[in-house]
Symmetry: C2
Subunit: 345 residues, 2 copies
Amino acid sequence: MPVGTAGSVKAVTQPQLKAEIKAQIILGNTYHLYLRPGTGVLEAAGGLHKFMNWQKPILTDSGGYQVFSLAANRKIKEEGVLFQSHIDGSRHLFTPENVMDIQRNIGADIMMAFDECPPYPSEYGYAKKSMELTHRWLDRCFIRFNETPDKYGYIQNLFPIVQGSTYQDLRRQSCEYIASKEAAGNAIGGLSVGEPPEMMYDFAALCAENLPGNKPRYLMGVGTPWNILECIALGIDMFDCVMPTRNGRNGMLFTTQGIINIKNKKWATDFSAIDEGLPCETSRYYSKAYLRHLFVSGEILGLQLASIQNLSFYLWLVGEARNHILAGDFTSWKTGMAEIFKQRL
Amino acid sequence: MPVGTAGSVKAVTQPQLKAEIKAQIILGNTYHLYLRPGTGVLEAAGGLHKFMNWQKPILTDSGGYQVFSLAANRKIKEEGVLFQSHIDGSRHLFTPENVMDIQRNIGADIMMAFDECPPYPSEYGYAKKSMELTHRWLDRCFIRFNETPDKYGYIQNLFPIVQGSTYQDLRRQSCEYIASKEAAGNAIGGLSVGEPPEMMYDFAALCAENLPGNKPRYLMGVGTPWNILECIALGIDMFDCVMPTRNGRNGMLFTTQGIINIKNKKWATDFSAIDEGLPCETSRYYSKAYLRHLFVSGEILGLQLASIQNLSFYLWLVGEARNHILAGDFTSWKTGMAEIFKQRL
């Protein structure tokens, strides 16, 4: 899922998201959208789909993660989290209940449960208490979710989130609790927060094994192309990550040939397409030399083209993964891709 | 002509320039392109058209104006202008001859003569000496132009530039000299550099009268939508201006309903299209409320949409002007448009 934090996948137009990147679903951010433009504006617009003119599905994360990473003076209580806006310092309270209401107002097709995401590393005692709070909040999320109607005439779903930090027993316990909610899909939170990759894979595997295999398993905030293929092998079905857009804006390109720092001198006279291997107009329309020139010259168009390239690559990659799973040769294909991901061109 | 200073119309893709904005020609900048990416890269690419993948005409200004407005430590000599790059301080010399060579290498369909653009106000004595230098440089431009072949297999044209500051006799004299070159088109420089609008109109009129009416007359660096309509009435045929893109990036929108500061609170819940009156997908696809949100949130997409809107408006405006000239009701149409341009919504 391309990340559209504040109702815009950064530097990309909605028609480009559809026609070039071929995104099937994008992610919005409850914390950001609640602060700006606010639920009043979104409700008046008829929801985020209409506000941004995006007809395909939207998943919103619950704001739990951003409250901890962005907001100032946050205070966790049983009721919820008191915090100050990173924009203007204004004071707000997120509770499991109002976070459900906000996501209903945004019009998310997939709403996420309000959780606490403990940092890495966390002490066992803290991780356990935090997980138990997340579970109590989850009960309240489902109560509110079940007593409120779909807001705009289409089905809205609620995905619970597994926590438990880097403790196997807590993760197992959390998976069991999350699965008991019998939601349409389940998410794994609290990974890719600074732990070593091998640890991330181990816990993704543990969670994937302990969540229902007939429903989507969504690993939040992961990751590099290689992270994604490894986690698909472990049973993960959904991902979101800012890496393709953020790294793109810094001049790092993911291509079917390998990774490129487009600002390098070596691309100055390489007039081959940005990426011939992708079914994306932008990737074939412009050359590496031109894109390098845009970055070196500080042109906004460079940010646009790099973002489209990277998102197109990510969407192509997961599409290919699906094709190779269906064809039965996923593992050998993945081994071949590993060689490409090692290429720094 | 949308301005694509460094080989990119800022924040706009080439397919958008064609399909949405319907630009027939764009402008590039010799000074900027010479410094970055440099003529070596452009020549290796096969010219700017191929480098940026833009098949329609390109006009390049000669660098005369930028050498005076951007470069450091410039020193005007009979031979040309010594200057230091605003990017890295490196020393360069522009002469009438090498500026012709550079524009041939860029592959401009319309090359501009190398001139000195005196500031406003200028003393009569300085203005006269400067004009005479520009005329001597013009002779050298044409000598070089005539002894060098078209670079990439299509015709390259050279437009001379009228100077003479705000002195009627100098302007008349310059027009006569410029017209004697019998170029495919003629340009008027040194206006819109700080003089009052009425003075700009007076001198645009004087120059238009004294240049051949059967060839395009190009007023450089003008201007607001209203400036453009006034100058069309005076006989001007071509314009370039950074205003639609630069003002767009600051949140000032030109629309068929009037001028909008999209950052104003009043647009927060206005879900009408940015501009229903334009035949431009972007102007109809997104709402004013959404575009305001993008600006308030600092999203790059806001810069993109505002630039497309403003350029679409400018191209629509001159297209309408042409239609009304052909229909014989230009003057009454222009009077009606004046009411719209006064509207600050």
